[in-house]
Amino acid sequence: MDWLTTVDHKKIGILYLIAGALFFGIGGIEALLIRWQLIKPMNDFVSAQTFNELITMHGTTMIFLGVMPLIFALMNAVVPLQIGARDVAFPFLNSLGFWTFLFGGVLLNISWVMGGAPDAGWTAYTPLSSKLYSDTHGVDFYTVGLQIAGLGTLIGGINFLATIITMRAPGMSFMRMPMFTWTAFITSAIILFAFPAITVGLVLLSFDRILDANFFDVSEGGNPVLWQHIFWIFGHPEVYILILPAFGIISEVIPTFARKRLFGYSSMVFATILIAFLGFMVWAHHMFTTGMGPVANALFSISTMLIAVPTGIKIFNWLFTLWGGQIRFTAANLYASGFIPTFVMGGVTGVMLASAPADYQFHDTYFVVAHFHYVIVGGLVLGLFSGLHYWWPKMFGRVLDEKLGKIGFWFFIIGFHLTFFVQHFLGLMGMQRRIFTYLRGQGFDTLNLVSTIGALLMGVGVLVFLFNVIVTTRKPAGAPNDPWEDGRTLEWSIPSPPPEYNFKQIPLVRGLDAYWKEKMAGHTEMTPAEPVGSIHMPSASILPFVMSAGIFVAGLGFMYHQYVVLVLGLVITFACMAIRSLYDDHGWHIDPEETTEKGVKE
């Protein structure tokens, strides 16, 4: 019950972690089923229809319900601590964002047992996703489920923007913010400007399917390419929503384990902002083959290639940070170091794809599949594992087992390269993406077998991590404030896990890497910026859960044309909003003498 009503950002972070891990597991099982189907030519392990559902749900689940919540988990667990805040700007909204995401994700996934999952690819291109070609309720689950989950993401994004702008501790100027907080900030800004586009796209598609509108129906004047534009105006920035937090994690982990400050901090900030800006300018590079014409193709080619410049700045800054450092290869740092070459490989194929004439060859082949998995798995997922190993002691008070962490890393990264490296060549040889089987003797057999074996190894790597989590959780808590001993940022200056109020006294920040600066000055803790006093805390509330449940009910009603159910769901949601608005909630306080025993989390 405590978990249903919590508004504590640290607990919400753990909720995001559990839910994200669950969906990550589902998406991973779907991936293994896909690879198992492709292990040999003319395999009949699953049917073509099931295969379509698997690839659609694998992509959708991983992007929206797996890795994004894991990013939000780390942001929730770490960002308020890094900026020296007691909480986020809107604790209630934070909880609402989580529950809306979870109910949206559940809605999407119950499609498996409610008459068929979406089967039009994770991009849901029209007319494939129109009623004519996809006549189950699958795509309806896609439009409504993603709509609800997207709402939660948008709420979370606005909350983090406001938090980072207004809640920084005294002395923490923008140019003293830790890199992970910077990337969380920029990612939230991208979310704010990208998600409304997909909101509109999903509305249009659901209107076409449920209300018989004609946005994408050519016979009534509609235009399917419109969907592609709207989808990628959201979809391309989404890629940077995913990768920038990984950049932030790497920028925290590498300086800590190289015992050096991050090389080129201000150029890192500049590069992050530039990548975010360019990310909005390049959506049509997904559409070179739709006939936009040579001028548009050339412009989108060039603007896409420009992104390699700030990304290159980042790569070199990490290398220069490692250069001459006293490097310790902990599990977290192994993942971070493994990230660098892997991500560079993904970036290079990205520049290849950005060349419009070459893209006519690569388009819709396994080369593209290899590219984006190198960026998203080799970039983001390695970054997430690095961040989880790094911040696990801060979140749970227990250090993950180093030996198991390293074993998991080697399984994962070897499996990863086995799976996806060969897919470049499969693509160049002409194997299309999204096919459920292939004929013997086209030269695809061996490489597909290798790819599937790699996928299994990656699965083993993830299982080792899970085993590590279980083993670690059974051990007694007792991680020190700063288990890595070289922690540089504010979160390492308070106990692990932090007490409910985070900071007994808000710290005074005197430079970049605030905690490191104090340690170098011979201090063991931060100088407080305020006297000891009673701490105001927000009250827990069940309303976010009920509101999200209401939206869930309304979504089901809309899909099945049950307008009574739709109205009932909306009434539940709006009633909760009215209750929240009419009854002021002043929260509660922790008194100074209680701070030692009360609020310390078990």
Binding site: A197, F207, N214, F215, S219, G221, G222, H229, I230, S581
Partner: protein
């Protein structure tokens, strides 16, 4: 710190009560951010409409359909309601709760008037012109864009009405002031969106 009693707060209400507390400042900031997202939302809807406005299939065209006098009347009503919400905020800054509530009530009535005209317009189109959601790509884009705006107006009317009730119950405090302030921001925003709808949908449909 228990919540200060409403009267005490009113007597010592600061000059800009909506920005007096951190919560209030957060609320105003986050609402600006939210409006940024809303701008993208309407931008995408406008782009969709512009892409499909000539695609009338077998249905009526914009030029045959729209009657400017009624749209002009609706525009006038909505723009005046923006002015009355400014009067409301000015009253709030003077600390005059009565005048504030009065101007909010006027704003709500004008908003309802606008909605009435819009509903009348839609009913006319559907019953007399055989122009519904399913008629053409143009009709789908029209109803979605204008309907989204209408839904925003409806939401604003309900929201401000609830706020009037809160003001009566709790008075003008540092808790209620930010709520009134952001609702006025919201109201201005949907007015601005309407100016674009008037231009892009109706004027361009008649003469463009």
């Amino acid at each position: 710190m228990s919540a200060p009693h409403a009267e005490q707060v009113t007597s010592a209400l600061p000059h800009e009560p909506e920005k007096a507390t951190l919560e209030g400042r957060n609320k105003v900031l986050a609402f600006w951010l939210f409006l940024g997202g809303e701008a993208v939302l309407f931008g995408t809807l406008f782009a969709t409409f512009l892409a499909l406005r000539e695609q009338i299939a077998d249905g009526p065209s914009a030029n045959e359909l729209f009657k400017l006098p009624i749209v002009a009347a609706a525009t006038f009503i909505l723009l005046v309601s923006s002015l009355t919400s400014v009067f409301a905020i000015q009253a709030m800054h003077r600390g005059n709760k009565k005048s504030l509530s009065l101007w909010l009530i006027v704003t709500v009535i004008l908003g309802l008037g606008f909605l009435g005209l819009e509903i009348y317009e839609f009913v006319e189109y559907v019953t007399h012109e055989k122009f519904g959601m399913t008629t053409s790509a143009f009709s789908s884009a029209f109803y979605t864009l204008v309907g989204f705006h209408g839904a925003h107006v409806l939401f604003g009317v309900v929201w401000i009405s609830l706020l009037i009730g809160q003001l009566a119950k709790k008075g003008l405090t540092v808790v209620t002031a930010p709520k009134v302030y952001v609702s006025a921001m919201y109201w201005h925003f949907i007015d601005v969106v309407w100016v674009f709808i008037f231009t892009v949908v109706y004027l361009l449909g008649k003469v463009g």
